[in-house]
């Protein structure tokens, strides 16, 4: 028997050749395509051997974790093998006093946080679905959450990486110390590369002490413009919000049901740190917001927890015909949202949006039953034209597979694209890694 271990569950591994007349694996389906095989390597050496084989046979391979974000990205050009990293879940090295940890790429983020939590520490990232998001997936898809405002993003905490290249060679970049400029900054190369340059097998992060206390406040507004202005007042002040989110819906069911208007605009302001800091900021918030603070409401501990999960998971939760992520200047958010809401309404595709107000990052989800394809595509067009017109970018994160190509899900990346193509051709000359899934069909 091969050294590769297969999980014994019937729906995880069914080679096509042995499954005549039956559908192939129901796991890790990407845009309706199922892999012919799913492999679960249990060591870096196995990953290396699998890639070497795939490369020699020109077999298209997609690295996957729990498959939580497979809907994002272009339609695979070819998809023969899914390489699932979840068996690479060891804690390789954890030095609480050095504030660094090295783990296998298949470890779930929730598990990682639980391990760090035992020492009052955390990796300051809060991407969607931490139970299903693996460390490797979070890095490859550059997944972040509301606390990016105060803490930073994946690339800020990733200090070392081990990657198996397309030909099976194991390489590393960075190291295990918090400050390091030896050699090219390879961790940045693989962060957000969507698994198209190599398979991440191990990662080292710098970590931080967990905040001692939290507070979350909700501030209602009568218009998105007013909410946007208030957000800018906060980010321009010397306050230090933990997160600052602008929503046109209530992520807390209780708000809609018991506290009146479900549809209004709200800012959700989080604070974290020592109790003294929280108390100070809570009162300062009213000063900074002035008249806007009239409807301010502090959430209970339970409500705050539910809210932070909803804010965190919004980019993947609930049914949606279309989901986009837009990155523009914070000052452009309010106008963009107002115009977008009107455009969506015209197409009978009501828009929910949630903006990382201090970062200029906007997540939108469009509901509406049976919106015609041309309406969906024209909405994508509108979003892209208005984002790029403001030197921004728009990525379509969810859309019916049949529309992906016409929607050009990643958009265009300008004059840097030839460099990206050369990079891909250099590091994956046979084009076996996630072909077709990344920008410009890379």
């Amino acid at each position: 028997m091969s050294r590769i271990s297969f999980q014994p569950s019937e729906d995880t591994f069914t080679p096509l050749t042995q499954a005549a007349g039956r559908p192939p694996s129901t796991q890790f389906i990407i845009d309706g395509k199922a892999p012919e095989t799913v492999v679960y390597p249990t060591s870096i050496a196995e990953v290396s051997r699998l890639l070497k084989e795939a490369n020699e046979h020109g077999r298209a391979l997609s690295p996957v974790g729990h498959g939580a974000f497979l809907h994002v990205g272009g339609v695979p050009k070819r998809y023969e093998q899914a390489l699932c990293t979840t068996a690479l879940h060891t804690v390789v090295d954890y030095q609480p006093t050095d504030m660094t940890i090295t783990v296998g790429a298949g470890l779930s983020l929730a598990r990682l946080q639980a391990i760090l939590g035992e020492n009052g520490q955390w990796l300051p990232l809060d991407p969607p679905c931490p139970e299903r998001a693996t460390v490797g997936g979070v890095i490859a898809a550059n997944l972040n959450g509301p606390t990016r405002l105060s803490q930073g993003t994946v690339r800020d905490f990733l200090i070392g990486i081990k990657v198996v290249c397309a030909d099976g060679t194991l390489i590393k970049g960075g190291g295990q110390v918090v400050k390091n400029v030896a050699g090219y900054d390879l961790p940045k190369l693989y962060c957000g590369a969507f698994g198209t340059l190599g398979v991440i097998v191990e990662a080292t992060f710098m970590i931080r002490p967990r905040p001692e206390a939290h507070a979350t406040l909700a501030v209602p507004f009568s218009s998105v413009e007013k909410a946007g202005e208030a957000a800018l007042k906060l980010t321009g002040s010397d306050m230090q919000p933990f997160f600052l989110e602008l929503a046109n819906f209530s992520p807390l069911p209780s708000f809609g049901d018991q506290r009146g208007d479900e549809r209004g605009y709200r800012l959700f302001v989080g604070f974290a740190g020592m109790q003294e800091e929280i108390d100070d900021q809570r009162s300062r918030l009213r000063d900074v917001l002035g008249a806007d603070a009239s409807g301010i409401e502090e959430l209970s501990v339970d409500e705050a927890q539910t809210l932070s999960q909803s804010l965190r998971d919004f980019p993947v939760s609930g049914p949606a015909t279309l989901r986009c992520k837009v990155s523009i200047q914070p000052t452009q958010l309010a106008t963009f949202c107002a115009d977008l809401a009107a455009e969506a309404q015209r197409r009978h595709a009501p828009a929910r949006f949630l903006a990382r107000a201090g970062n200029g990052v906007l997540y939108t989800a469009f509901e509406g039953e049976a919106v015609p394809d041309d309406q969906i595509l024209s909405l994508v067009d509108w979003i892209r034209v208005h984002a790029t017109g403001n030197n921004g970018f728009a990525v379509v994160e969810e859309i019916p597979s049949a529309l992906k190509e016409r929607a050009n899900v990643w958009g265009t990346v300008g004059k840097a694209f030839p460099l990206m193509q050369r990079l891909k051709e250099t590091l994956d000359p046979n084009g076996i890694l996630n072909p077709g899934r990344f920008v410009g069909g890379i």
Binding site: G175, G183, L189, L419
Partner: protein
């Protein structure tokens, strides 16, 4: 240099953009790493991105190698012209192009001095966080090339954490934008790998830099210890307590004495070590943290813990710290500083090893460094007129870096590999790692015309430097 090439360069940048005379060029023979020197055959100082592109396009066509240079404050020989006849200086790309306080970024040309950025926004309550000790002279372009740090990067991160986008002239003369002025740009993070590439991927001409709000309040401590051991224990204690100081710096006796002689701040010259500890953030957070820090210092036998009374005293303290390297001039005609990193808890071990190296090679070594990051800066003193001592400095420096690697660390935390540490890259990177780095370089710089002979040792080449190469007698 070929007269036709010279003429063409004059055409492209004008007579005031060319430094051709030997005596004028000799100023450019090294950066802050003075063990190796080489005079460029010509220096060009373009006035715009377009001029940089035109020069590079021409050099690429002629297959003439070139090296970019900012202010020349680098400490690893990153802008030393090694088999690269043309030096392209960014000193005339010195404009802050755009300031956007509401969206918290500035666009600055690469020859802008680091401190100018903070100065341009400080009255509005903002700052550019990375603060290398040379920030009064070093340029944004150089900071990007080296991914520079500084004392306050412990809390705020290094250059790469503060750059949104770059305008780069690629080695073929093409102008591209990597990243942008917004946070999430699709595609590979080419901005991220260009930062810290030590000028081997092209010439950065302009950058969008994130601005950070100035903290509400600071508190700066000077903790005095009888021994380095007690000071390092304190560093570990503070980090382990969950406090993230803005800065946590250590200085040993030799450096304290040099600084005191130079700046008369009032450092205790009989102390074994001092720590500069700074916390910042919300005013409400400072008192509780102060109590914790004082108690950790006392627990580790601090002789005294002073707190800067006002902003003037705080600034004076930082001025002394940031000019520490300059003060060494009082102790020795030449010095060479190392930049190794160890896991923070290994700082006592590496300091012990440095003491052993100092004794073995009979060299005076002073220590002033970023203790909170585990980023050491031993300063090896020598006189370059003494050939034997110069050789011992090279050997001792290597031995210290080897010790860092043995302890699980790295060769460089913020100064870069340059020419200085190329030979030691195999200590931390396998041939496969280095091969991928070479491939990566070839994507940007296929003919290796842009800053050749840096970072990656040439396989089979003479990489074991036992004596300085290309030493130019002063």
């Amino acid at each position: 240099m070929d007269q036709q090439v010279l003429d063409r360069l004059y055409d492209l940048v004008g007579p005031d953009g060319v430094v051709a005379h030997k005596s004028a060029r000799s100023v450019y023979d090294c950066d802050g790493y003075t063990l190796e020197k080489a005079v460029p055959e010509i220096v060009v100082l373009p006035h715009s991105t377009e001029e940089v592109a035109a020069v590079v396009k021409f050099l690429n066509k002629e297959k003439i190698a070139f090296v970019p240079r900012g202010a020349g404050t680098g400490l690893s020989g990153g802008c030393l012209p090694v088999e690269a006849p043309v030096m392209i200086g960014t000193s005339r790309l010195n404009k802050i192009v755009h300031i956007d306080l509401l969206n918290r970024y500035v666009v600055a040309q690469s020859g802008v001095v680091n401190l100018w950025v903070s100065n341009a926004v400080k009255d509005q309550g903002f700052q550019y966080a990375p603060d290398p000790s040379s920030q009064q002279a070093c340029t944004i372009g150089g900071n990007i090339a080296e991914n520079s740090g500084g004392p306050h990067t412990l809390k705020y991160g290094v250059t790469t954490n503060h750059v949104l986008g770059l305008e780069v002239v690629l080695p073929d003369g093409e102008i591209v934008t990597l990243g942008g002025t917004v946070e999430d740009v699709p595609g590979y993070d080419l901005r991220g790998i260009t930062i810290g590439a030590e000028g081997t991927f092209g010439i950065v001409t302009q950058a969008a830099l994130k601005l950070t709000r100035q903290p509400q309040a600071y508190r700066t401590f000077l903790a005095v210890f009888e021994s380095v051991h007690h000071a390092t224990q304190t560093v570990s204690g503070i980090i382990a307590s969950g406090i993230v100081p803005a800065a946590l710096e250590m200085m040993d006796t030799l450096i304290i004495q040099a600084i005191e002689e130079a700046f008369h701040f009032g450092f205790p010259t009989d102390a074994g070590a001092v720590l500069i500890i700074e916390i910042d953030g919300l005013a409400a957070s400072l008192n509780p943290q102060t109590e914790r820090i004082q108690s950790i210092c006392k627990h580790n036998n601090a002789r005294e813990v002073r707190i800067a009374r006002d902003d003037a005293e705080r600034m004076a303290l930082w001025k002394s710290r940031k000019r520490a390297f300059g003060a060494i001039g009082r102790l020795s005609p030449n010095y060479c500083t190392q930049d190794g990193v160890v896991p923070r808890t290994k700082v006592p071990d590496i300091l012990q090893r440095i003491t052993e190296v100092s004794e073995k090679y009979q060299l005076r070594i002073a220590n002033v460094f970023h203790a909170g990051d585990g980023n050491i800066h031993p300063i090896l003193m020598y006189d370059e007129r003494n050939a034997d001592e110069t050789r011992r400095v090279v050997q001792a420096g290597k031995e210290i870096l080897n010790a860092c690697v043995d302890l699980g660390g790295s060769l460089t935390g913020e100064h870069g590999i340059g020419v200085e540490k190329m030979g030691q890259m195999p200590l931390i990177f396998s041939p496969e790692d280095l091969m991928v780095m070479t491939q990566l370089r070839s994507v940007f710089n296929p003919d290796n015309l842009c800053n050749p002979n840096k970072i990656i040792p040439t396989p089979g080449g003479c990489i074991d430097v036992t004596t300085p190469r290309r030493q130019v007698p002063l």
